[in-house]
Each structure stands twice: as structure tokens, then as C-alpha cells.
């Protein structure tokens, strides 16, 4: 009787309690993300300071250096005549206004340059991450279920191979094979010369062409996307395969999987509902890490495919030692990564009732 009343009360109270628990969880995650963002600006500032010699010379193009007015404006904007903490505040203030500095190469604000390049990168990263997660999960589960057998060994060696291949080299090989030898892929770029970009809506050519009803342009865009997406997916898929394999192996040892089989459920249900569901939280985490590595990969892949995305911009900036641009990319990517991580942490709440309801 006592037990009954205790349980009854706890069920009634639960809805109120869990809402505040979820709120607390969300707030905590938000605070961590905000701290990391602030921290990343410190890193950025430290790197600006680390430049040996005169920061004016390091951050302005030769043309601007010849112009005393430009030099003075630069000094004033970054507070270079004031003490270090004030300089950081000036830097932070500029960042808050979206001012990442001016690119030496293009002479434009770095943020404007970046935003121009973002849609092209999204057009690669989005399909690549989806492909990697699907392939990585499927292959990883397969290997786990065949642990120790030939299929598993083949997957493990294949995954190691994928992890050990330099992406930029794979890009060159892929272009050589599919463009130069087989002629089935275009030679980099986003569109063939005979097409002009579709009217801009999202900035992603394939999507915009579809929206404008230009099917031939959309198909051409997809053909240009295919090869870089494949190359980007290799490393990420390999990472995910290894991770999913060990996560699923761990779940396979759990009693609740034995219990699911003992209930007479079809193997397919056990795999897709019980096994995958249990590994889901870990797979989500890993996907966010993979996302970061994929963003980094675009730096090495886009340049080979002449793909005008953030990665290519970073590459061009690095080659030209365009410091404000490189630092801008660095902060931008870190910010994206932190935000994605935040999103993933919040997704946890949905995937795992222990977080959602505790």
C-alpha cells in the first residue's frame, strides 16, 4: 500500500520535475558553448599577438601599407596604441560586430568573403556527412555482428586504410581516374562552362537550379558534387565504421539484447530497434566529431577540385599568407563546430530518455 502511494505520487510529480531537469540541462550546455566561444576568441587574439614583428605589416596588404591614412585607421580600429587587455576588448568588440578583419588578397571584409563561400561548402559537406553516417553505421553494424570472421577483418583493414589515406592525395587520384582516364567526371569546379549559375536562393547550385526548374543545370551541378563528396566521405566513413563497430559490440553484450531475442522478436527488429537505438547516442556524438574533421577536410579537398568553398578560401589564404583571412576561417570553423556540438548535446535529450526525463 505504501509502495503504491509512493509510486503514484512520483508519477504525478514527474512531469513538473522533468521539465525543469531538461531546462537545467539545456542551460548548462548553452553556458559551456558560450564559454568555448569566448575562449576561441582568446585563441584568435593570442594568434594575432603572436605574429612576429609589426602587426600592421602582418595584417595589411602592401598597397594599404603605403597609405598612412589606412595604417592609422587600422591602428585605431584594433586599439594598437592601448594596453593589451584594451586591445583584446577592441578585438572582441570588432568580432561582435561581425568584423573579422580585411582580407589582404581580396581587400574585402573576411566575413563577407566567408559568407560567399559557405553555400558551396555546405553543398559538399551535407551530402558527405549523410553518406558517411549511413555507410558508417551500416558497415560498422555489419562488422560487429560478424565479429572475428572474414567480413569483420575485411572491414577493419578497409577502415584503417581509409583512415590512413591523405585526403588531398585521394582527391588527386580520384580526379586522375574519373576525369582524366575514364572521363566520367567533370574536372572540378561547380558547373560546366556552358551553364551559368542558377538564380541565387540558397547559394547551393544544385538546389537553386531545381528551384528554378533548370533540370539540366541541376544534373550538371550534381555531377560536379559527386567526386569531392565521395572523397570527403572516405575518412569520415572509416572513422564512423570503427566507432560504430565498437559501440555495437558493447551493446551486443547487454542483457537487454539477449532479452529482446528471448522474447522471440525477429532479428531485424532486434537489430534496428534495440541495437541501433542503444548505440544511437554514441553515433550522434561521433557524427559531430566527424563533422569537424570533415570541415577540416574541405581545406585539403576543395582546392584540388577548384571548389570555391570555405576550404578553398582557407587554402588560398594560407598560400598567400593572408593572416586575417586564415584567422577568420579558423574562428568561423570553431564557432560552427561549437554550435554543432551544442545542437548534438541537445539532440541527446531527445535520443536518450535518461537525459530527457531525469
Amino acid at each position: 500500500m505504501l509502495l503504491r502511494s509512493v509510486l503514484h505520487r512520483s508519477v504525478l510529480h514527474r512531469s513538473a520535475v522533468l521539465r525543469s531537469a531538461l531546462l537545467r540541462y539545456v542551460l548548462r550546455r548553452l553556458a559551456i558553448a558560450a564559454g568555448l566561444l569566448l575562449g576561441s576568441t582568446l585563441v584568435g587574439f593570442a594568434l594575432v599577438q603572436a605574429v612576429p614583428g609589426d602587426p600592421v605589416a602582418a595584417n595589411l596588404s602592401d598597397q594599404a601599407l603605403g597609405d598612412p591614412a589606412a595604417v592609422a585607421a587600422f591602428r585605431a580600429k584594433w586599439g594598437l596604441d592601448r594596453p593589451l587587455p584594451m586591445q583584446y576588448l577592441a578585438y572582441l568588440g570588432n568580432l561582435l560586430q561581425g568584423d573579422l578583419g580585411t582580407s589582404q588578397q581580396t581587400g574585402r571584409p573576411v566575413l563577407a568573403d566567408l559568407l560567399d563561400h559557405v553555400p558551396a561548402t555546405i553543398e559538399l559537406v551535407l551530402p558527405a556527412i549523410v553518406l558517411s553516417v549511413v555507410l558508417g553505421t551500416a558497415i560498422g553494424m555489419y562488422a560487429a555482428l560478424r565479429q572475428g570472421r572474414a567480413g569483420d577483418q575485411a572491414v577493419r583493414v578497409g577502415a584503417l586504410l581509409g583512415l590512413s589515406t591523405p585526403q588531398f592525395w585521394l582527391s588527386v587520384l580520384a580526379l586522375y581516374l574519373f576525369f582524366y582516364v575514364l572521363g566520367v567526371s567533370p574536372n572540378g569546379g561547380r558547373l560546366s562552362p556552358q551553364f551559368s549559375p542558377p538564380p541565387r536562393v540558397t547559394g547551393m547550385y544544385s538546389l537553386d537550379a531545381l528551384l528554378a526548374g533548370q533540370l539540366d543545370v541541376a544534373w550538371d551541378a550534381v555531377q560536379h558534387i559527386a567526386l569531392p563528396v565521395l572523397v570527403l566521405s572516405v575518412v569520415t566513413t572509416a572513422t564512423l565504421v570503427r566507432f560504430v563497430r565498437s559501440a555495437i559490440l558493447e551493446v551486443l553484450r547487454k542483457d537487454y539484447i539477449a532479452a529482446a531475442y528471448a522474447k522471440g522478436l525477429p532479428a531485424r527488429t532486434v537489430l534496428l530497434r534495440h541495437l541501433l537505438r542503444a548505440g544511437l547516442v554514441q553515433i550522434i556524438t561521433m557524427t559531430s566529431l566527424a563533422f569537424a574533421s570533415m570541415l577540416a577536410g574541405t581545406v585539403l579537398v576543395e582546392s584540388v577540385f577548384s571548389w570555391p568553398g570555405v576550404g578553398e578560401y582557407a587554402y588560398a589564404s594560407a598560400s598567400a599568407l593572408d593572416r586575417p583571412a586564415i584567422l577568420g576561417v579558423c574562428l568561423f570553423v570553431a564557432a560552427v563546430y561549437i554550435v554543432v556540438n551544442l545542437a548534438v548535446d541537445l539532440l541527446y535529450g531527445v535520443a536518450d530518455p535518461r537525459i530527457r526525463l531525469t
Binding site: 564559454g35 568555448l36 575562449g39 576561441s40 582568446l42 585563441v43 594568434l47 594575432v48 603572436a50 605574429v51 612576429p52 577483418q153 577493419r156 583493414v157 584503417l160 586504410l161 583512415l163 590512413s164 589515406t165 591523405p166 585526403q167 588531398f168 592525395w169 585521394l170 582527391s171 588527386v172 587520384l173 580526379l175 586522375y176 576525369f179 582524366y180 569537424a292 574533421s293 570541415l295 577540416a296 581545406v299 585539403l300 582546392s303 584540388v304 582557407a314 587554402y315 589564404s317 594560407a318 598560400s319 599568407l321 593572416r323 586564415i326 584567422l327 576561417v329 579558423c330 570553423v333 570553431a334 563546430y337 561549437i338 556540438n341
Partner: protein, 265 residues
């Protein structure tokens, strides 16, 4: 993983080390010597062909081992020292110091390694030394976390407490208990990270932020090959060099991890 694979990996690494040492003796040409015979495909005279300046690709790949392997080793050793030291301090001192160091590792983890390394090299100027410095800056946190974990584990076992009660100074405790007990995990981690260091270094060079031309560096050689993909041999062979070294490191790392069960990030 199975034993034969580990043996193969060990022999591959051994062979590369040997090639690096004997590069001057075994390579048929001077890696920097240009000739009129540009973009010659692989032949009996030039097994791996020649590049756009008529330099022998085989000789350059062999000499590349002299650059890539020592530089990657330097990255791993220096990152291990820096990360190990910070991890020791974090685990031993604890509290605020621990908190600051751990938040710092979080911060570095928030940046993709190659991109942060790019920014660091760009800030200091491109050179082999700065590339190594950049890679140390982006890779020390892994070591710091593992070493800190090892120190905390030892503290949990409480032999530090007992040593302290016996009136031994902190330096002695570090030297006698903490350091010897954290060496194992650190070395395992270093093996795992060596392949990663080779890849990152090649990536930086590919971007033009590592050893500058005309130096024979694998990543930089692939960048040259990417300029004209129809001359496949210019980039294929240095890429295979990177692949074999990294794959061997990863196989070894996996085997060691299976054996000692050390967590990775």
C-alpha cells in the same frame, strides 16, 4: 588485430627508417638536381618518373622520409613532453590549476587540428620548425588528458597520500611514483598519434605551410603533382609513401591499444 599484420607494419616502418638513414646512398639521383628530362613517365632510368623540373621522383620520395619521419617524431615527442607536463601538473596540483588546464584542452579540441595548425603556422610564418610548433600546439591536449587520468588513477590508489605522509617532497613523489606510472599510457598514445602527425604534417606542406620548395617533402610533392593530374606519377608515389607509413603506424597503434586498452579521444 592479427599478428602477421603487426609484423608487416613493423617491417614497413623499419624499412622506412632504414631508407631515411641511407637516403644518400640508396637514391639514384640528387633529389634537388634538375634536368631537361621533365615529366618523364616511370622508366628503367627513373623508376618513379620525373617531375616538372626533371627531378627524379624516386630519389625525392626516399629523401622525403628524411624530412617527414623526423619531423613527425619531433611533433610527437614535443607534444608528449608538453602535454605530459601539463597533465602531470593538472593531476597533481588539482583544483583551479587542473580546471584551467582542462578548459584549455577543451578549447584546443574545439578547433579542427589542421585549421588551427594552419592559423598558427601562418601567424609565425611557414617553415619546418613552425610547422612542428603548430602541430605540437594542436596535439598536446590528448597527452595532457591521458597523463592527468593516469595521475588521478595513482592518486586514487593512494600511494601518493602515503608517500606524502612519509614526508617525501613533491618532486620526489613525481619522480618516484607519478612519472614511472604514467610512462606506459603515454608511450601507447604516442604510437597512436605518430600516424596522425605524419598526415597533418603532409597536409600542412600540401598547403604550402611546411618545408618550402624545393625541399623534397611528401605533401609538397603531391601539391606539385596536383598542378597537372595527367602526370600521375608525380603525386602517386609520394602519396603511397604517406599511406604506407600512416597505415603501419595505425596498425601498430591499434594492436598496442588492444593490448593495453588505453582510451583515445
Amino acid at each position: 588485430m592479427r599478428r602477421p599484420l603487426v609484423l608487416i607494419a613493423l617491417s614497413v616502418l623499419g624499412a622506412w627508417l632504414l631508407l631515411a638513414v641511407l637516403a644518400g646512398v640508396v637514391s639514384p639521383y640528387d633529389p634537388l638536381a634538375q634536368s631537361a628530362d621533365t615529366y618523364a613517365p616511370p622508366s628503367a632510368a627513373h623508376w618513379f618518373g620525373t617531375d616538372e623540373l626533371g627531378r627524379d621522383v624516386l630519389s625525392r620520395v626516399v629523401h622525403g622520409a628524411r624530412l617527414s619521419i623526423p619531423l613527425a617524431l619531433a611533433v610527437v615527442v614535443l607534444a608528449l613532453l608538453l602535454g605530459g607536463l601539463l597533465g602531470l601538473i593538472a593531476g597533481y596540483v588539482g583544483r583551479a590549476v587542473d580546471e584551467v588546464i582542462m578548459r584549455l584542452t577543451d578549447l584546443v579540441f574545439a578547433f579542427p587540428q589542421i585549421i588551427l595548425a594552419m592559423a598558427v603556422t601562418a601567424a609565425f610564418g611557414p617553415s619546418p620548425a613552425n610547422a612542428v610548433l603548430a602541430l605540437v600546439i594542436v596535439s598536446w591536449p590528448v597527452y595532457a588528458r591521458v597523463i592527468r587520468g593516469a595521475v588521478l588513477g595513482i592518486r586514487g590508489e593512494n600511494y601518493l597520500g602515503i608517500a606524502r605522509m612519509l614526508g617525501v617532497g613533491p618532486i620526489t613523489v613525481l619522480r618516484r611514483d607519478v612519472v614511472p606510472n604514467s610512462v606506459g599510457p603515454a608511450v601507447v598514445l604516442a604510437t597512436l598519434e605518430l600516424g596522425n602527425a605524419v598526415l597533418l604534417l603532409a597536409g600542412l606542406s600540401f598547403l604550402g605551410l611546411g618545408p618550402r620548395p624545393p625541399a623534397a617533402e611528401w605533401g609538397a610533392m603531391i601539391a606539385l603533382g596536383a598542378a597537372d593530374i595527367s602526370k600521375w606519377w608525380v603525386s602517386v608515389f609520394p602519396g603511397l609513401a604517406i599511406l604506407t607509413v600512416v597505415l603501419a603506424c595505425n596498425i601498430l597503434g591499434d594492436a598496442i591499444r588492444d593490448r593495453f586498452d588505453v582510451g583515445h579521444r
